[in-house]
Symmetry: C2
Subunit: 218 residues, 2 copies
DNA sequence: CTTGTTGGTGTACGGCTGTTCACTCAAATC
DNA sequence: GATTTGAGTGAACAGCCGTACACCAACAAG
């Protein structure tokens, strides 16, 4: 279970100081990620994390100021997953129905490939107040803004006010985060259950997009 | 800050045993509710709650088997708030646009009147695994089912499959829980900010409803 | 080759945690 | 009026928590 970094470091000779430090830093992040499947970040203890990372509690401070500091590092890592996904989804600006199909497929693939990151984001998003939640809120707001800009590029939406575009983007983000939660909370994820959730996602997006076509602003 | 139940009980003479027990039970629930503004339920300790309730830690077990048990009692209390709201909203089966306006108004009023309950529900909903989250998930699923049935009574939706109705109900519930989160997370809630959020809620619902009118199932 | 830097160690502390146990004493029951 | 019941008490426990401190040993820089 617990990775013995000391042994690991001893056998792998001739590594620069920076390499070693980065390696244990990663070990700390990994050790913190693992239990988040069934517990909140707030429920982690510094001692537990350091033990799993294979270092002594006091050595923690060589890498992070506090657990909150580590938490923010986790947010950044998870957001990198999300941004990678968005970049891929942005590649194919097809028609609406194609875009929906492609987007949901991209979402599904990335969520399954980076379950831990997405679970972390969606779970921690609402869990009370704290630096971690603040960081997530900021990133997600930024993300919704970018989506609003993307939406504005569609012809039907070219006349919409930025406020309305933002409203629509928020609805989409909220709905899709709900979908992510469902995917990530399935106990034994099989292809059938996944397809069912994906179908639901497509329908919800289709419902929203259909609303757009018959929208008359104010 | 901390209510001294002992003193309180001493001055108020001649109370039956049941009354006294219920009174401290309530004190425990209240003491548990208070810190939930800025912390997760999982972050509460038995000792802290009993201290705030004015009893000794060991007396806790006279009322609840565990903190999780208390948590479930909190869920039940919060769901009573939600159900009261729904019952009121169900009273006025007006046309779509009126229904949206009335529903959002009802939502806004009840959330502001029972902030603690709604904050608890929306916050705890996603926070990891546990009996509390399971209880919330069950109640919310039940709630979405009822909404799906209500939706089916509208003429435009009479031909929809129950599966599609459920999909739509889930979208509405998710979107409105997002709205509740926004309301409940505003630091200093003034009328203007509230109206802005309410306007957003109305638009999102309108967008969804508009989608319905131009929906062609499969 | 010497010296300074630094990631990791081990001990120790005070404080908080859930739970046990034997107890009191007032209300409820007989 | 005597007896039972049960909510609340208070001391004690083993265990975990974050963090301060002095120390070591290996790498980096001079």
């Amino acid at each position: 279970m617990a990775v013995d970094t000391r042994t690991l470091n001893r056998v792998t000779t001739s590594q620069t100081r920076q390499e070693r430090k980065q390696r244990t830093r990663q070990a700390l992040l990994d050790a913190a990620s693992r239990p988040l499947t069934d517990r909140t970040f707030a429920g982690l203890s510094l001692r537990e994390v350091t033990k799993d990372a294979g270092i002594v509690p006091t050595a923690f401070y060589r890498h992070f100021d506090s657990m909150d500091d580590l938490g923010i590092a986790l947010v950044e890592r998870a957001m990198r997953s999300l941004r990678t996904m968005i970049r891929e989804a942005r590649q194919n600006p097809a028609t609406y129905d194609d875009a929906i199909r492609a987007s949901v497929h991209t979402l599904h693939t990335h969520v399954r490939a980076n379950e831990a990151d997405f679970r972390f984001l969606t779970r921690e998003r609402y869990s009370g107040t704290g630096p971690v939640q603040a960081a997530i809120a900021t990133e997600l707001r930024l993300f919704a803004s970018e989506l609003a800009i993307d939406l504005g590029r569609f012809e039907v939406l070219s006349t919409w006010s930025s406020e309305d575009l933002r409203m629509m983007a928020d609805l989409i983000v909220t709905a899709m985060l709900g979908i992510v939660m469902e995917m990530v909370d399935v106990r034994s994820p099989d292809a059938d259950a996944d397809e069912e959730i994906a179908a639901k996602a497509r329908k919800q997006l289709r419902l929203i997009v259909l609303g757009v076509t018959s929208w008359r602003s104010r």
